[in-house]
């Protein structure tokens, strides 16, 4: 993955962050450290770190990327389960999920065994979770408890793992360049968040769903989303898309990303919290930063696959070494 275009893209992010850091510093010198500016400075600083980690995972190649998303899934699921009040009866179920189902899912994803990647969680994990909880003998709010764990795994592990799977999409004429596709999804979704936050702070008036997330405004979505679509379109050269398709895919990421963030806010509210955790200074938890990517990743992955007619299932059937292992 030593692709000069990838370096330009990362370089572009570093340039953006430099501008953000300098602007923040100038604003603080002019206005003093208000709570909003203090939070902005924390956010920018955290962005530097997140960019560093994201870029180094990509530079380590396939293994680095999958290892990174395995860790992210683990952290996200841990935040999700920490906030959901799971009782004693779910302890063993959760131990299985964390230590067996999550690593095996990433093993299938990394291998790659596309069929098992698709069904391991929605079929096998979903069947296992209520069985193990039933065996514990605790029937209190059983359906709610099972669905909570299932939902957590679906969102934090299954959906998120579609991001590293971008590396495998067999797109004709784009071989060996898929890391840029991963960059495109993450960057456009995140820049859409940033732009919506900025434009929302500057011009936001009309909240879209005030009871769910007061910071999401119609103006922020409109201006911020448009800016993100423009930025995404300008990056068409790094993607397998034509400029028009890049614009459409950016619009898709903005829309699905927005709704992902909205739904995760609603989940958070229903669990009685403002942030998922305090893991990333200024942002909240890992899930607060990932929320818009959760829905965007699988939707983008499958639409891209369909658009280019990639035969994932045929291209990545059961790997020989797994077959040998299972025969044994």
């Amino acid at each position: 993955m030593h692709d000069p275009e990838l370096l330009y893209l990362i370089g572009g992010v570093v340039a953006l962050l430099l501008i953000a850091s300098i602007t923040t510093r100038m604003l603080i010198q002019k206005n003093g450290e208000t709570p909003v500016l203090g939070n902005l400075r924390q956010r920018v600083r955290a962005w530097w770190w997140m960019t560093l980690v994201f870029a180094s995972s990509i530079s380590m190649g396939r293994d680095g990327v999958f290892g990174f998303y395995l860790l992210l899934s683990f952290l996200a699921l841990r935040e999700f389960i920490t906030l959901s009040p799971t009782p004693r009866g779910d302890h063993r179920t959760l131990a299985w999920v964390f230590f067996v189902f999550v690593p095996i899912h990433y093993l299938f994803a990394w291998a790659p065994w596309y069929g098992m990647f698709l069904i391991w969680i929605p079929v096998y994990a979903f069947v296992f979770i209520p069985i193990r909880s039933a065996l514990s003998g605790d029937t209190d709010r059983f359906l709610e408890r099972s669905s909570r764990i299932q939902w957590g795994v679906l969102i934090c592990v299954y959906f998120l793992s579609h991001l590293p799977m971008m590396l495998y999409l067999p797109i004709a004429g784009y071989e060996g360049q898929n890391a840029k596709l991963l960059f495109f999804v993450v960057f456009v979704t995140q820049i859409s968040d940033v732009m919506q936050y900025l434009f929302g702070k500057l011009f936001g008036k009309t909240p879209i769903a005030p009871s769910v997330s007061p910071s999401k405004t119609r103006e922020g979505l409109l201006y911020g989303g448009t800016a993100a679509i423009l930025i995404g379109t300008l990056l068409w050269w790094a993607t397998p898309f034509s400029p028009v398709a890049a614009a459409a895919m950016s619009a898709l990421l903005v829309a699905v990303g927005f709704f992902g963030g909205l739904v995760m806010s609603a989940v958070k509210r229903s669990l009685g919290a403002k942030d998922w955790s305090q893991g990333i200074p200024g942002h909240g938890g890992v899930l607060d930063r990932l929320d818009s990517l959760l829905f965007a990743a699988p939707v983008f992955f499958h639409i891209t696959g369909y658009y280019f007619g990639t035969q994932m299932a045929a291209a990545y059937s059961q790997p020989v070494w797994i077959k040998r292992l299972l025969e044994w």
């Binding site: 841990r78 389960i81 920490t82 799971t86 004693r88 302890h91 063993r92 131990a95 964390f98 230590f99």
Partner: protein
């Protein structure tokens, strides 16, 4: 060095943070915490600032911490626990109290779980009287209430495998020791309330 690394790893995996403001005061102190997991002592110990931590000794059940090589190593080498045999404690023998007093006089801070046993449902049970005797014999001690959150979910009673959830240790303001006219039960209820209050926010 190994103890520092251990404390760092515990903080990293549980998400517990150190409370830097605890490092300053120079009085000897006792931490009073709720008890819901075998991990409680380890996690609370890891949340204390390094300099202070070296002199901090958890009071723990001998039956559990003397079993197995790893636990024995942790209890004796890593956090230098004061191990109290459970059946002795139940008999209200004077011995455990003497052991704790001797440790305090030798310059140690203590971590104490005044409920005496781990709660099953996450609630905080009544406090046992050991803390009252300690505090009335050493009136200069600072008593710091601590609320440990989520550890009962990470490693509940009767489970072997801890879940990787996020824990939290909340340290409260020191409470005053029992004054001579205060009945024992009132003091114990007051100490318990201080921990319960921390659980509310």
């Amino acid at each position: 060095m190994i103890r520092r690394i251990l404390a760092f790893l515990v903080r990293l995996t549980t998400g517990v943070r150190t409370a830097p403001e605890l490092g300053e005061i120079h009085k000897r102190r006792i931490y009073l915490a709720n008890h819901s997991s075998h991990l409680d002592a380890l996690v609370l110990w890891s949340a204390i600032p390094t300099l202070r931590r070296h002199a901090t000794r958890p009071v723990a059940a001998a039956e559990y911490w003397q079993k197995g090589r790893l636990r024995r190593w942790l209890a004796t080498r890593a956090f230098n626990a004061i191990l109290i045999p459970r059946h002795l404690a139940n008999m209200r023998d004077e011995d455990p109290l003497e052991k704790m007093l001797a440790a305090i006089d030798n310059g140690a801070d203590l971590i104490l779980f005044p409920e005496g046993t781990r709660s099953k449902d996450g609630g905080i049970g009544p406090f046992k009287s050991g803390i009252y005797h300690l505090a009335s014999k050493r009136t200069e001690l600072e008593l710091i209430p601590v609320f440990l959150e989520n550890l009962g979910r990470i490693l509940p009673k009767g489970e072997l495998l801890p879940l990787p959830l996020i824990a939290r240790a909340t340290f409260g303001h020191p409470i005053s020791g029992p004054d001579p006219t205060e009945p024992k039960t009132d003091f114990l209820a007051r100490a318990r309330d201080a921990v319960v209050q921390l659980s509310a926010n």
